[in-house]
């Protein structure tokens, strides 16, 4: 257990946590407004697809990010309209757009580029050192030397906290998840608030998908989010619907995955597949451990009766 090992483990935990954090923040926004965020997985996947295709064709990361946001927000818009205007079941709609995104991205990547193995290869974004802090021992290189989207993710955590708890619009959004009738009585349209929250949340989750492509892998593969959206959803619950809580939960899942990856290198009596189960089992255990204590937005899952 030397310091280098610890620093590497920390760095890996942060790297793995970042897409989860963005996914969780997106889900959080939607759930605080009263809409279950089961579709996050699909939105992250659409974001990853947009980031890869946009950067590849547009030739710039900025185009890629714009496409990631647009793609994910597009999927989120389907959810927003279906669950508010048509009062579709929120959970199952979320699952449906997951399948839709999986099929659509896989279909389009083959349709656009032909062949069986899509040939998108992108350079992964490099790290930016935060002045002074990055010179600290151990923590410096592990935590304070990060690629741009990781910095953005941390900024969004802080901004979302301030937005939800310090602004009028944030109050309205939270009220839509607790008591939409009161929002209506106060002169706002809860349906609109919820639609905006779901679509904005989708855009943020799409950035999570973009992180996977632009900072981690440098390419798009079918179903590459592989359950991260659902882990992010678990993090929202474990983090009790608060941005910092979700961040902490994602870091725990990130650390679990980082340790799991490191354990695969070691000769252990158990199969690496058993170790791969750790993050999912951990999420299940933490959720079960939290039990009845959690207090979720009161009106979540309940369609608002527009007049």
């Amino acid at each position: 257990m030397d310091t280098l090992f610890v620093a590497n483990l920390l760095a890996a935990s942060v790297r793995i946590a970042v897409p989860l954090v963005l996914g969780a923040l997106g889900g959080l926004l939607s759930e605080r407004a009263g809409i279950f965020a089961v579709g996050i997985e699909g939105m992250m996947l659409a974001g990853a697809f947009g980031a890869a295709v946009g950067t590849f064709i547009g030739g710039s990361v900025m185009v890629g990010l714009a496409c990631a946001i647009l793609g994910a927000a597009g999927i989120a818009a389907i959810v927003a309209v279906a669950v508010t205007r048509f009062r579709a079941d929120q959970m199952v709609t979320g699952l449906a757009v997951g399948i839709l995104s999986l099929g659509l991205t896989s279909f389009l990547i083959r349709g656009l580029f032909g062949g069986h193995a899509p040939v998108i290869r992108l350079d992964v974004l490099g790290a930016i050192a935060i002045p002074y802090l990055s010179d600290l021992p151990v923590l410096g290189s592990a935590v304070f030397r990060q690629p741009p989207l990781t910095c953005a993710a941390v900024a969004i955590v802080v901004l979302m906290h301030l937005f939800l708890h310090r602004t009028r619009a944030g109050l309205t959004l939270r009220a839509s998840g607790e008591n939409p009738e009161a929002v209506f009585a106060a002169g706002n349209d809860p349906v609109r608030v919820r639609q905006i929250a779901v679509i904005a949340g989708g855009a943020i989750a799409g950035l999570g998908g973009a992180v996977l492509v632009l900072q981690d892998v440098g390419t798009f593969t079918d179903g590459m989010t592989s359950g991260r959206g659902f882990l992010a959803l678990a993090a929202v619950i474990v983090g009790r619907w608060t941005p910092f809580g979700a961040l902490a939960a994602c870091l725990v899942f990130g650390a679990a995955t980082a340790i799991e990856v490191r354990l695969q290198g070691v000769d252990l009596p158990v199969s690496s597949y058993v170790i791969q189960m750790v993050p999912y089992a951990l999420a299940l255990l933490v959720l079960a451990g939290l039990g009845r204590g959690t207090r979720m937005p009161q009106a979540i899952g309940r369609p608002y009766n527009a007049g």
């Binding site: 839709l100 359950g227 039990g291 009845r292 937005p297 899952g301």
Partner: protein
């Protein structure tokens, strides 16, 4: 007293069952028409990505239909594909009736297939019929155990079954991989798969010369039994009551815990049976990833069938033929088979929207 779904308390759950409850004979044409309309709409909208990919939708759909119905072999293949859909969707439909969203078919099928394979590989001295029956029972037990975990966590710890069954899917699929890369794997196969089962431990084929196995009959029987169970037994009445109104159910002395555990165990057992039938009837061995995507398809099928066990049969056949046709389409004209997922996802969204609207009209 508004309570919420993730904490597992009454009220505010999904509104699927309310609609389904109001669906006896007189309304059944409405739900059938709705499903057909949703599917047609899905095909129409899916033409957009086909055009975006620079292909002709009519050519794609013609190849899909030819692939599904082109020959008796194709039809047999599609019927085999439909079999696990029927079995797992009957379970999901019964869960829907109690307002339980069990999306764990994937994991339940995976562990069911795993358990059945374990028995099939070690059933050396048993008479063939006993070996098959034992393997399928093992699959059912494993599937029920898997869904039982989710039910137990829901009932004791209040974790919503959507999340728990989902997380259990990942774990179940990984269990299969772990077993295949461990003691169940075929040495030197180069692919994670078990050795072939003994020929006597397989499902018989229905017609000589065609690969249509007897699992289809078991699935059809399960749908019929499910229908009778739902509409003609005390248990069925109880789960319909639970799905309709939990306060009414509580007033009538129907136990929430008993109902949830009952439908979940039943759903898990059916999915586990589907897993066992899949490995015994189609592959004759356990293969990594054999359960890919079943979980979501089962939800789609149950929804299209408006949670009516008998109606699951046509809905599952539709998805089975769609999947089989898509594979042929990919092989013959190079059109990616993931088109099916697009159509499937769109169909569910459209059905849900129609159901949501129905709900509003009923309420007014």
């Amino acid at each position: 007293m508004t309570k919420n779904a993730i904490t597992g308390s009454p009220a505010a759950g999904p509104r699927l069952a309310r609609l389904s409850l109001a669906l006896p004979a007189s309304a059944s044409f409405g739900s059938f028409g709705r499903a057909v309309l949703a599917v047609l709409l899905a095909f129409a909208v899916a033409a957009i990505p086909i055009l975006m990919a620079g292909k002709n939708p009519l050519v794609a759909y013609a190849a899909l239909i030819a692939g599904a119905f082109g020959s008796l072999d194709n039809i047999a293949f599609a019927l085999n594909k439909s079999t696990p859909y029927i079995l797992s969707a009957v379970g999901v439909a019964l869960c829907f009736r109690a307002k339980i969203i069990n999306i764990g078919s994937e994991g339940q099928i995976a562990v069911g297939g795993l358990a059945a394979s374990y028995v099939a590989l070690n059933a050396g001295n048993l008479p063939p019929f006993a070996a098959v029956a034992l393997a399928l029972c093992a699959g059912m037990l494993a599937g029920a155990l898997w869904s039982g975990i989710a039910a137990a966590i829901r009932l004791t710890r209040g974790v919503h079954e959507v999340l728990s069954t989902l997380l259990l899917n990942f774990i179940g699929v990984l269990l299969v991989s772990a077993a295949l890369n461990g003691s169940l794997g075929e040495p030197g196969a180069g692919f994670p798969q078990s050795p072939l089962f003994d020929e006597s431990v397989g499902l018989p084929t229905l017609f000589p010369g065609y690969d249509l196995h007897a699992g289809l009959l078991i699935a059809l029987a399960a749908a019929i039994v499910g229908q009778i169970l739902l509409w003609r037994t005390r248990f069925g009445f109880r789960i319909r009551l639970l799905g309709g109104s939990q306060s009414a159910a509580a007033y009538a002395g129907v136990s929430f815990a008993g109902g949830v555990m009952g439908v979940m165990l039943l759903g898990g057992a059916l999915a586990g049976l589907a897993g066992g039938i899949e490995v015994l009837g189609v592959h004759a061995r356990l293969i990594e990833g054999f359960s890919q995507g079943f979980g979501f398809t089962a939800v789609a099928v149950a929804l299209l069938a408006a949670a009516e066990p008998l109606a699951v049969i046509p809905a599952a056949l539709f998805f089975g033929f769609l999947r089989a046709g898509a594979l042929a389409m990919q092989r013959d004209v190079g059109m990616p088979s993931s088109l099916v997922d697009v159509i499937q996802g769109l169909s569910i969204v459209f059905v849900l929207c129609a159901m949501g609207l129905d709900n509003r009209h009923q309420r007014v």
